[in-house]
Structure formats: C-alpha cells, structure tokens
C-alpha cells in the first residue's frame, strides 16, 4: 500500500514551512540540477539533501523506506546501461560474452543514477513532511489555485486507500463466482482487465455520490469561499525557496569549477 500520511516530526523548523514554499523549493532545486549530466553536481546535491534532512524532521530510515522505489529504478538504469550502452569508451573492466563493462559506461551510469536520486529526493522529502489538507489549503490561499480543483482532488485522494480493499473484495468475489485464471496468462490478463473495470465502475459511482454530497453542502455555490485554516506565507518561506536556489546554484558552480560540468543542451 502506498503511504500518503506525512511522517515528519511536526515541530521541525523546515517541515513547518508553508507547503507551497516547500513544493516550490523542491522544484527549483530539482530543475537547476537537470541542467547538467555530470555526476559531481548531483552528488553534491544529494549531500545537501541528506544534510538538511534533520531540519525537516525526517529520520534517515524513514527516507530510505520511502525512497525504495527510486532504488529499483536506479538499478534498472544501471543494468540497462551496462548491457546496452553504445559508448563503450574507457578501460574495459569486465568482459563476459556479450556483456562488456567499461569505465566510460560506469561513469555515465553513475551520473544518471545520482541524477535520479538528486532530482527525486526533494519531492520525497516534501511529501513526507506535508499534510495533504495543508497542501490543498496553501495551494488555494498562497498559489491562487481554484478551490474546485484543490479541494476536489483532496476529497478524491481520501478515497484512494479504499481502492486497495475494493480490489481485494472484487477478486475474492470473482473467485466465489467460479472465475479464476489458473496458470493461463491470457486468462490472467482478461481477469485483471475485468477486475480493473469493476473497480473503475465502483470508483466512478462513489465519486459521483461524493460530488453530489459536496454540492449539497454548497461546494458548487457562487458565494466566495472563506477559509477555516489560514496558511501563511512569510519571510521564512521566501528564504526557503531562495536557499534552495542558492544551494543548487552552488552545486552547479562547484561542478563547473572542477571542470566536470556537462550541459544538458549544447
């Protein structure tokens, strides 16, 4: 099951920042890093990310668990590049049949893996420290997002954990009806498709009922909405974004000074 609850200590100085500021800081930090293909800048960025982690109140073990899917994709990149890279420059380290591993390939692969981590970790940290309700509130109040979109998504989001239970119930109900796939892959695919369809039908019906209930409480009204929970965007939030930009810039500068900088374009 995908966990969507925030896991940070709520009092941590950066976890308390405005959710929009946190998202903006993560975006700024990630985008700057996208500019280079070298391994040095992302390595510095990862070091920075790990260094600021305590300020967000996230423990390293929690981050490791949340970043597990990243590890899988990183492994995928490594294997793909080692097996299929056209650029086999540098010293040959290993040759076993069609598999040829050279230092050049390893350098490219390392750069890519580091980039994946450096770019994705800020997002992981932000969502580990941000309550979805607070994010929706801040999007409406500080980023001027339409309430219909932000609150609507939030309400839909609340139904997501139900889908897992629903899937299990539908699968069991099908078995009770005498429908299973055994070992036949075609039958498996068909069963999967029809279960997914039943899940979708149920989700749409629930979504429609929820929408009616929301409108019954004035969600579709013309009255300008007020807010029950004030989200403030202060100097500290601006500084968070500026800090993210400055640190990402510093990582790039270091890479340029060391001569490892390889621009994405050009």
């Amino acid at each position: 099951m995908i966990s969507i609850e925030p896991v940070a200590a709520p009092g941590a100085p950066l976890a308390r920042r405005n959710p929009v500021a946190k998202v903006a800081a993560a975006l700024v930090f990630s985008f700057v890093l996208l500019a280079t293909l070298d391994p040095v800048a992302p390595a510095i960025a990862i070091a920075v990310e790990l260094a600021v982690l305590p300020l967000f109140g996230v423990r390293y073990r929690v981050l490791a668990r949340r970043a597990l899917p990243l590890l899988l994709s990183a492994t995928g990149i490594l294997v793909t590049l080692v097996l299929f890279a056209a650029d086999q420059s540098g010293r040959v380290l290993l040759e076993a049949g069609p598999v040829l591993v050279s230092t050049g390939v390893l350098r490219t692969a390392l750069g890519l893996v580091l980039r994946v981590f450096a770019v994705a970790l800020p997002g992981v940290i932000v969502f580990a420290t941000t309550d979805p309700t607070d994010l929706a509130d801040a999007l409406i109040q500080n980023a001027k997002a339409p309430a219909r979109f932000a609150v609507g998504s939030l309400a839909a989001f609340r139904l997501v954990p139900l889908l897992g239970q629903e899937w299990q119930m539908i699968s069991m109900a099908r078995r009770a009806r005498g429908v299973d796939a055994g070992r036949n892959p075609v039958a498996k695919l068909r069963l999967f498709t029809s279960t997914a369809f039943a899940l979708l039908v149920g989700a749409i019906r629930r979504g429609t009922r929820l929408a009616v209930a929301m409108d019954a409480r004035g969600f579709d009204g013309d009255t300008p909405r007020t807010v029950a929970r004030r989200q403030r965007f202060g100097l500290a939030d601006t500084l968070l974004i500026a800090g993210a930009a400055a640190l990402a810039g510093a990582a790039l500068t270091t890479s340029v000074l060391l001569g490892t900088f390889r621009p994405l374009i050009g």
Partner: protein
C-alpha cells in the same frame, strides 16, 4: 423557515420512460417532523433530491412545482441540509473538524465564526472525539453522526435524511437516531426516509405514504396511517410495527458434517475460532463490529488463506479435492461446493446482464447450455427477476441487486451457502423472501452460514448461533 409546498410535482430522469415520482401534492409546515414512506421505487429519494435542489434542470423533466419557503429549491439550497445513506461518500476531509468546516467555508462564513460553529455542531450530535480525529478511523455510526454535524453546522431550516441508518449495524443506527433527536431545534423541519418504521417513529409526528404509480396514498399521524394502511404497506415491503413475520425453524434434525473450522483465525482480524456446519442446518454468526465476522465468512468460503488453524471440508462436500483445504481449490470447483454472498452485491457482478450473471456460474462449472437456460429461468422466476433478465446488474435497485447476488451464488447449487449481512438495508418483502429462500435450501439439505447483525433474521431462520468476541 423550512416550509415545503409541492403542487402536482413529478420528475422523470433523463433517458427514462417511467416517472420516478409523479402527482405529489404536499404541504409541510415549518417545524414539522415527517416520515416519508412508500414501497421500493415509489420515488422517495428522488423527492428528497428535488427538495435539496440537487436535480439540475438538464438532468430530467419536471412537472408541477416544488417550493421551499416560496423559493425554487435550487435557489433555496442554503436553507436545506441533507444526509445520505453511505458514510464513505459524504465525508470530504481527512480530519473530523475540517469536514464540518467544509460546508461553512463553501457558504462564505467568516473564518472567526467557523470554529465556534464547528464545535457547536459536533457537540449537538454528541461527537465523542476532538476535532482532529481522523475521519477514516471512525465507525460507520460515528461517520454518519459527523455527516449530520456537517449538515447542522449550516443551520438548515429543513433537514432531509435519506435512510441515514440503512448501512449501519444496530448500535451505529441507534447512535445516529440519538444524535438526530438531540440535535434538532424546535423550528427545524425534518423529512426522513427510512423503512425501519418502528425505530423512526420516535423522531416524527406525521407519516406521508407515496403511491408507486403517483400521488400520495396516505398522510396523517402515525397511528391513523398505520391503522388504515398498515397491512397493505407491510405486504409491499414497509417495516410497519405490529406485523411480525413467522419464523421458519428447521423441519428435520441436521445431517452430516460439511465444514469444520479448527482454531481458525487470521490475526489481527480474527482470533482462533472453532466451528462446525452441518447439512440441513442454518447457523448464524453474530458479534460486535470488529469481531472479525466478515473475515470468518471469507475464510469459511475458501476465499482467504487462514493465518492460523484450518478449514476442513468433509469428503461429501470436497469430492475430488478432499486432500486440499477449500482456499486451495480451483474457483469452478469451489463455486460448485460453497457459495458465498458478499455484503455489497455489486462486488459480485461480472457480466453486463442479469441473465448472463446467473448463467456465469453454471457455464463455468461445465453445465450444458440447455441446463444453464433452465437453471437461470427457474432462479429468475423464484427471485422475481424475470422482467429484468436483460437489465444491467449495476442499474438494479438495492433489493433487486441483493436478490440477484443471492441467486448467483445458488446457480451452481452449492451444498454450503455463506452469506455476509444478506438483509442489510432490505425492505420487508425482500427480507421475507430471503428467509423463505434460505429456509427452503436448509430443508432441502443445504448448510447455511449467515454472518449478521440482524436479530430478527436470526430469530426467524437460525437453528444455532455462534457469537464472536471483539478482538
């Protein structure tokens, strides 16, 4: 505030030939408490939607007029609050207090006033937790109380309740009724749809009965209406007090053992449980919410793998698979031997017509097509579904969907039938049919296991009761 006036009101949903409700003349004064009754399909829910202003112009065709305090309901939305049946699909936010605040935000209530009004609404419905309690952690009854608080916080002149307790166990239902009693102001008008009449009567002072073909059949005090129309209403499926249903106890002593559970459990959902089911016996499994009743039904039905202990099918039930426990059987073999009926009928529907739905099991278990047709025709007839043979299962009413889901489990003639809350939210007519159907099966030598909160159903059918404790 909250007066209702209907003149010749009718509504036909777009794309439907029949009118959902028609020819209704009704005046409800401010502060009245009305129970709206009628057989399934009389248009009660449609009428409530119209009063709540939730029928957009382009979603159907209207006849006559409907007014709230002299206004079109679509323009009087601020005066009306409504609570629906399903708690899952009316809570919006992750925290309880935020959910009550949601409506106040929509109506533009100033921030400083929001939280005092949230607290007041939560207090009025007797909500026992702090504001930041997660809505997902609430029981069904607590969620419905929260939904009621969300409606009351908007201070409606007219409160509409559309079967607010139909999806709840008896404790949860009592909780919600208590909250309604305690929370209403003297000048708030209440219109309640509820077919469990005895439980609803303390809340109302007037009963209005809709006629399925159109118009109002009866209108007056509960005593007057039930004296004149009680028997007819009971026959049509309304739970009128004072019309008991004769129990159907077993005609013969139970036969051979079909299924045994030894220290069967699935921690943390169900602790170790011993149980035996015999042919020709109806066994009821009861216990509070959270005791693991549904989990037990799934384990006995061979649908979940036991965490501890085991399920053993007798040689007679297991046939060729007597060496393996039921959860290891292939699905067609399972469906031939043990039929499971789920709490939510829609989980069980696989095809796009009622006919195919009933034919699916027999076809999967290898019956010839001619025999399949006979089986289906007989089941359609027996469960009053013949005229719906070509309908999509997802378009059926609650009672029809329940009858179909039971019929699908019976189509493969399993020796053992396991049902999870088969009578939830059912009207009296379907309820009585279910009792008769299961009693007939039992008397024909089938074993029946029913997981249920419904004490009346247990009294009417069960030969033996097993009670689970809360984990």
């Amino acid at each position: 505030m909250g007066g209702v006036l209907l003149r010749g009101f009718g509504w036909r949903h777009a794309g439907r030939r029949a009118w959902a409700v028609r020819g209704v003349d009704l005046r409800v004064e401010a502060g009245e408490r009305v129970l709206l009754l009628g057989p399934s399909g009389a248009g009660k829910s449609t009428l409530l939607s119209a009063l709540a202003g939730l029928l957009p112009d382009d979603s159907g065709e209207q006849e006559g007029t409907v007014e709230i305090d002299g206004l079109d309901p679509r323009k009087a939305r601020e005066r009306v609050g409504i609570v629906f049946q399903d708690p899952q699909t009316q809570l919006v936010m992750a925290r309880s207090g935020d959910d009550v605040a949601f409506g106040l935000e929509n109506r533009g209530v100033p921030t400083a006033e929001i939280w005092p009004r949230v607290d007041e609404a939560l207090r009025r419905v007797g909500f026992p937790y702090p504001r930041d309690r997660s809505t997902a952690a609430l029981s069904g009854g607590e969620q419905q109380r929260l939904a009621l608080a969300g409606a009351l916080a908007l201070r409606p002149g007219l409160l509409l309740l559309d079967e607010p307790t139909a999806n709840l166990d008896p404790d949860g239902a009592a909780l919600v009724r208590g909250a309604v009693t305690g929370a209403l102001d003297a000048d708030t008008t209440l219109i309640l749809v509820e077919h469990r009449v005895a439980e609803a009567l303390p809340l109302v002072d007037r009963v209005v009965v809709l006629e399925p073909g159109g118009g109002v059949r009866a209108d007056g005090t509960p005593d007057a209406v039930f004296a004149a129309h009680g028997a007819a209403l009971a026959a049509e499926g309304v739970w009128v007090p004072g019309h008991p249903i004769a129990p159907r106890t077993a005609a013969a002593t139970p036969g051979d053992l079909l299924l045994t559970a030894d220290r069967l459990g699935l921690p943390p959902r169900l602790g170790p449980t011993d149980l035996a089911v015999r042919a020709g016996e109806a066994l009821a499994v009861r216990g509070p919410n959270g005791a693991g009743k549904s989990t037990l039904a799934l384990l006995l039905g061979g649908l979940l793998k036991p965490g501890v202990g085991r399920v053993t099918a007798s040689a007679e039930l297991a046939g060729a698979d007597h060496r393996a426990p039921p959860h290891r059987w292939r699905a067609p073999a399972l469906a031939r031997r043990i039929g499971s009926v789920f709490q939510d009928p829609e989980h069980q529907f696989v095809t796009s017509t009622v006919f195919d739905e009933l034919a699916l099991g027999p076809r999967r278990t290898g019956q010839p097509e001619a025999a399949v047709k006979d089986t289906v025709a007989e089941l359609l007839e027996r469960l009053r579904l013949t005229r719906l043979a070509a309908a999509n299962p997802y378009t059926l009413s609650g009672g029809e969907a329940r009858r179909l889901s039971v019929a699908t489990a019976l189509a493969t003639a399993p020796r053992l039938v396991i049902c999870d809350e088969p009578t939830f939210g059912q009207d009296r007519r379907t309820w009585r049919e279910l009792v008769d159907l299961f009693a007939d099966l039992r008397d024909a030598g089938h074993g029946i296991v029913t997981v249920t909160h419904d004490a009346d159903f247990v009294a009417a059918l069960a030969d033996r009761t097993v009670t689970l404790e809360r984990q």
